[in-house]
Amino acid sequence: MAGSKKDQARMAAAAFTAEDEDYWEESSVSASKKNMFDDEEEGFTVLGVSEGKAARLSSALRSTVGADALFADEDNDDITWETSSNISNSSSHGSITSAEYRSARYTPPANRSGSLSTTSSRSTAATVKLGGSQDNSLSVQFNKPKITRSEPMSLEDAIVDVPAKQVTATEVSKLETEIQFLRRQVQLGERARWTSLPVKETVKRIILGQPYSLEAYKSLQDKLALLDAAIRMHDGDAITIAVLFLKRTVRKSIFHQELIKRPVAVNHLIHFLWCHYDLDELEELYKMLRRMEDVFVLKYKQALAPSQAAGRAQSIAAVVRSFQHDSSLAPDSTLLLEQCTLLQRQLQIQEEDKKIAAGGKHPVFRDHPPKAQLPLTPLTTTLYYCSFYHYNESDSSLSSPLSIKRDFQVSDKQYTWSALNALAKLHRWKEIEALLTSKNWFGGTKMKACIGFEKVVEILSKQKAPVDILSKYLAYIEDPNERLALAAKHKCHRIVVDTLIQLKDRAALEDYRLKTPDYSLERQYLITALNNSQVKWKN
């Protein structure tokens, strides 16, 4: 035991001394400013913390004591969930962890109302009443002074202990009046059984979880008063109860007429119908309220139920048809119509592609067989798919990316992103060049990237494009500083040299000399530039 601790400690010492003072000095964080994301040379810095430093410190700490040993003493109190289904993946079951409360004592309730006394260190005494209903109210007393008495020998002793009390005349009369009062109350109560309680009282009873009855509210006025009282007292449960009571007990036309005046009641009824899956009734209610957008959304949601593309396309088409005359919903209807068209198109493309793939001659399908189903994917994903498998098809073909761009009015930027990503993944550099070349009126050509050449470089570099390809597009980045940074990052030395010449920064060029490989053409190129007397260096 002691030996192993010692070993650990020794390891710790070694780990900490190996990284000498410099290390601790250096880890002080550079003063942060609002844009605190300076690119440090040695690594990326986020919010003033360098990744490298964090990694080093954390590994140092871990090695101090074996990380496993460090976390070995986890105090776990996990529940193995029994599941009725066969899902046995433990991570989905959650666990209750507790170390603290194991020793909680339980004192059985002394009587029906269950009073639990908890001793606590609190100085003030507080009586807390929780819960409204008689049966389960639980009163907890803090620090109630315990009557300590020498243990009573028997029950008799305990009774004898109670001091006899003198009853005074005033007390007698007090009791008499109380009896009379209670008698009256009982009579009232008898009668009250068949008359209605004030609505406010009933709502209070609902809120406080006490027994109540709505039966006595027979007149429409009473029913509405009940609903209005519930609304005035803000409790959602009471509002729902009152609105459902009204709905159940009066004619539909009266119900609607009164409901429409009470938006809060409407909200509660709608929410109830949603939770209760009474969707037909909900639809009817929305229509009565002339909330056509809500009807539209409800119908659309229902139309999405089929999990197969063909079925879903059909049900969405039905929604579009039923709303075609509603001009206020035209923009959203159009979106739905496009979704139908897309689903059908995806099905057709997939059908064709299955044949192509089975033929085994198509190089892309052979080398990169599709991993996922095309139907039900978003338009952007479809565009990428088509750029990947069908890039050079004529735009009369259903699967040609250009025809998709045209038919679904895809923006130029979106098209460029999708096509570029797909082509870069396939390393089709020539086609990328064509994609980024635009012809002008006089038949000349010009390189153009609507997403910006810096993004083009980013995508290409992610797909490990060769330096000459990267250099080609780097050159088109307009801002020289941005170009310089990116060129340096991707080690496109010629671009760096050219840019530094453009910036007339001889000093930086000198510094850069060591970054180029020895005896390389790039080094040569740099030296030639340094010797160029035509450049008016700024330093």
Binding site: L47, R62, A126, K129
Partner: protein, 619 residues
Amino acid sequence: MAVSAVLGPKLPDLQYLKRLARDQLVHLLESLPGRKDLVIDPDLMTPLDRIAGASLLKQHGVDKIFKLERTKIHGGCDQLVYLVRSKLTTTKLIADQITADIRDARKRKYKIIMTPRRLQVCDMVLEHEGVFGLVSIEELHLDLIPLDRDLLSMELPQFFRDYFLHGDQTWLASIAKSLVNIQSLFGPIPNVYGQGRCAKMVADMVEMMMSEQGERQSSVGCEIGHLFLIDRDVDYVTPLCTQVTYEGLLDDIFGIKSGSVEFGPDVTGTDKSIKIMLSGEDEVFRAIRDRHFSNVFGFLSAKAKELQTSYDKRHNLKSVQDMKQFVSEELSNLKKQHKALTLHIGACETITKNKSRGDFEEQMRTEHGLLEGVDVRECINFIEESINRQHSRTEVLRLLCMLSSTQGGLPSKDYKSLKTQFLQSYGTEHLLTLHNLKKLGLFVEQQAPDATTNKLTDKMAAKLTDGMASLQLQLQLPKKSQFRAVSRKLNLIPKSAENFELRNPNDMAYVFSGAYAPLSCKLIEQVLQREGWTGVEDIAKLLPGDNFVHLKAKSARGKSAGSNPDSDKIVLVYFLGGCSYTEVSALRFLGKQKGYRFLVATTALINGGKLIESVSGWK
């Protein structure tokens, strides 16, 4: 230690709430004698962790524990206890299971424990399904759960969707009840401020419930001086921002659940995941939780160095006695700190890795641009690019909502174009989500230039009997956010963001890298300072919902015997609809600055992602 002196006024001990809930749960379990199986609502699993452990449940007769699912429960014993959130859907599920048992001719005793409250609507469903007579129904008053010394949560994330999206007021009574409980424990709160429709309703209900309870015994002194109720829709912008405080980042990246976080193998450096409680009891965590992330790592490395020195002490141990003392006392403490330190540094590492990937820098620039209202066109371009590249949907929606909320809705052309592109990239199904966001006023199209009249119609509508029509109007008219104007009036954007001091901040805006101070917290600061809304009316006018204040006369305040003399400095802030860890940090900062101690209560802890996810209409 001298910690308590530094912290100023003493906070009331929130652990009482935990004890009360635990005792009640035990009582409810014991009231059904013998062995029983427990079926727990998945929503309640993590919150319950905070109250009772598995062994406590087992001690009180629980045999097997099941998760409530859409399937029948096989096996188990003949007594079944359901512990669930009181919701219609859950109740229906239970009714279905009981009906299935009846069909199988299985005889069981059933008890349903509903929390936080038994709903009459649920009773109705049980009645409707014909099982009412077969079950006994109880309620467990598990409302505010203490997650830390100054943090309470109802752990009720669906409240946001239910109330703000659907206008359902069912949970309000439970929120009010939680405040009644707090006041029975810690004494009546003399001064109450509020902003928002929900805040007002909750305050009304608290008043009703208190008067129903009758006069309180004066034995309870007052320990909390002020209560501030604030609706989430007063400030949507703050929770939508990317968090950059340490605890905020932990929540954004790892997801904090009921105050605990699970670190994966990348953080622990082993092949295991570790779940830890995040609380102020952990010395290391207490020191870094509220810091700006740039200021965390320096502290941790200094701490690591310090720890090393303490470990090194063992070289200078002279006697066996010393050695014994070192091993028995210091070593375990050192080990504990060592463990905490390793985890937090590991977490920093993961956060740094996470944020250095992709375009974090550009994203921060976009958020800051939106907050300040500069270069908005560039911000839109960035969002558009994220859509085109199919970046995380939730992230994109968060930015879209931030754009709309800060700009007071989008010009028609931008709105349509962004909407179309969004649906193209993520699927037309998400029209459902956009519909919800529109209802909430989070992603909306600017209407004709009569935007200023919206507020007026809103106010007028509220004056109609019982707020008639007001909600509907609110839902249908776009709630034109006056973010820019409020931001100016509350000085939310610091003037010199360039040289902002993040290490020893003197401005609350440090929580967002010096770019923005949370609107909610600044509003609270102003109102507390003025003890009311006088002087800030022009700001309040721009916020949704009405404001109110109930002050107890100054003379009466000090009088009640047993009152904590510090109570005037203790402020309970209750966020209705959730609050973010950044807001908690900002309030802690405000407390230090002005000598207050804040207790934060909320319906749930949220961040931008959770907020958006909670109102999504399609998976």
